[in-house]
Amino acid sequence: MAVDVEPGATFTVVPVRRYGQIVLALVVALLVAWLAAAGASSHFVNPAVVGQYLLNPLILGGLANTIFVSIAAMVIGIVLGVVFAVMKMSSNTVLAAVSGFYIWFFRGTPVLVQLIFWFNGVPAVFHDLSLGIPFTHVIFFSMPMVAFMTPLAASLLGLGLNEGAYMAEIVRGGILAVDEGQVEAAQALGMVSAQTMRRIVLPQAMRVIIPPIGNEFISMLKTSSLASVVTFGELLRRASDIYSSNLFVVELLVVASLWYLLLTTVASIGQYYVEKRFARGTARAERETPWQAALRNLMKLRR
């Protein structure tokens, strides 16, 4: 029904009232308050103990070990991932099949099993680690497997090889996402396939690969806690070493969790800047950073 108004009249717009949303917000807020109250009234966590152990040298050492093993396993994973991704896309069927088997096996078994396998299984099966010419008796170098398979070595092998299998699929997806015309243009300019891969395809694949690598790294910071079962002294292992003697179980788990949260938060922020760097040449590169956004909102509040 049309209602006549005077020409040039201004209108008032009334936004839709979303009553459902208000009710839902109240219910959720109540639930959160109830949980917080339950937590506060419990006597399981002694904040003083948490504070006391937060900067404990053993814990800080564990933190350093967690950071180190995560970064090292990630580097191993990325290198293996690129190699196996290129192998899987190779026209050489033997290379493609070996890569396919590697990815299938290491993605198909739990990383916890793989860690125990490297640490306990391998030294049980192979007595010595030897370097020589296969199928001959020529040996350049040999050492007992138990001496080689330290907790650190087992952790790096277990986490790195497992990560490599996931990275291979991520890298392969990134390479496939690069337009075929890019390869043709590079070939037409006289580049050979290795040059095309290194200068044209991989840099563009990085834009697709970087966000999942960030997620994988954040995930790795937490997965590295599994290395505690092979007695590697990372954050969780150090926390459990301490609570098994003083029995402040929950407090030390809280200490470890706080450090994990800090690590993953810092990694998420880092991921944002790395993504921005690799989005060069796209509209996405022009977007503002979280800091810029926060600053802009702050300015809006002041006005």
């Binding site: 890019q182 037409a188 050979v192 396939s193 200068r199």
Partner: protein, 261 residues
């Protein structure tokens, strides 16, 4: 005629009985063509006639199933010993491709590099030109295509016409003896076609040997030394533009021209 005239008798491109199949689809069914040095050949024909495929066979982006192609006297993709053809190694293929410039319908600029880097990349990587020398030459080439001020801009920030001009500069940076154009203006907005054609016209004027797959009949008529009409994987008719375009002898040419003009 003097002696140099005899030397120009060696064609820049010579195709002999070229066949190409994609699975069971026969795209090229016996192409015989010659392109002389400094000649500008316009390849026209309906879509699916095989003209783009033929172009891509010349720098071995597509492998032919039968026949032979020579560029500047060298067999494309193979080394012939008697009646045996030995497939060339990747590095040899790349060396020959480096001497043939190609411009694509969809530009195919490298999106992670600036216009200048796009033009510099191949000379540095393939021809081992020192970086500062390559940069200087790239700037001159961008100036030549009228984009000197866009040197440090990424392709995404350029219009289609500007991207295609950068792509032409990128191909010229390798100092090719032959330029292949695969429908260079088909992906462009109509008002951007002119700037690309102007660059190509200048290039033809400077004496570059060019094979151009195009639907721009006006351009073909003005710039082409010869027009070749392909349909169904064969050359139906060829000759000077004014003859083929204004006075086609073959029925298929007539009906094609009637449809697009």
């Amino acid at each position: 005629m003097s002696m140099p005239a005899l030397q120009t008798m060696r064609p820049m491109v010579r195709a002999e009985g070229v066949h190409k199949r994609f699975g069971r689809l026969e795209v090229l069914r016996g192409i015989d063509l010659e392109v002389q040095p400094r000649e500008v050949m316009m390849l026209i024909g309906p879509s699916g006639s095989g003209k783009s495929t033929f172009l891509r066979c010349i720098n071995h982006l597509e492998q032919i199933n039968a026949g032979r192609i020579w560029v500047d006297g060298e067999l494309v993709g193979y080394r012939q010993v008697g009646t045996t053809l030995y497939e060339l190694h990747e590095r040899e293929l790349a060396q020959r491709r480096a001497e043939i410039g190609m411009v694509f319908q969809r530009f195919n600029l490298f999106p992670h590099m600036t216009a200048l880097q796009n033009v510099m990349e191949a000379p540095i990587l393939v021809k081992r030109v020192p970086r500062n020398e390559a940069a200087e030459r790239a700037r001159r080439l961008l100036e030549r295509v009228g984009l000197a001020e866009k040197a440090d801009v990424y392709p995404a920030q350029l219009s289609g016409g500007q991207q295609q001009r950068v792509a032409i500069a990128r191909a010229l940076a390798m100092e090719p003896k032959l330029m292949l154009f695969d429908e260079p203006t088909s992906a462009l907005d109509p008002e951007l076609v002119g700037e690309v054609l102007a660059v190509m016209r200048q290039l033809a004027h400077d004496g570059m040997t060019m094979i151009v797959v195009t639907h721009e009949m006006q351009f073909a008529r003005e710039v082409g030394d010869r027009v070749v009409f392909m349909d169904g994987g064969v050359v139906v008719e060829q000759g000077p533009p004014e003859e083929v375009l204004a006075n086609p002898k073959h029925e298929r040419t007539r009906s094609f021209l009637a449809r697009i003009l």
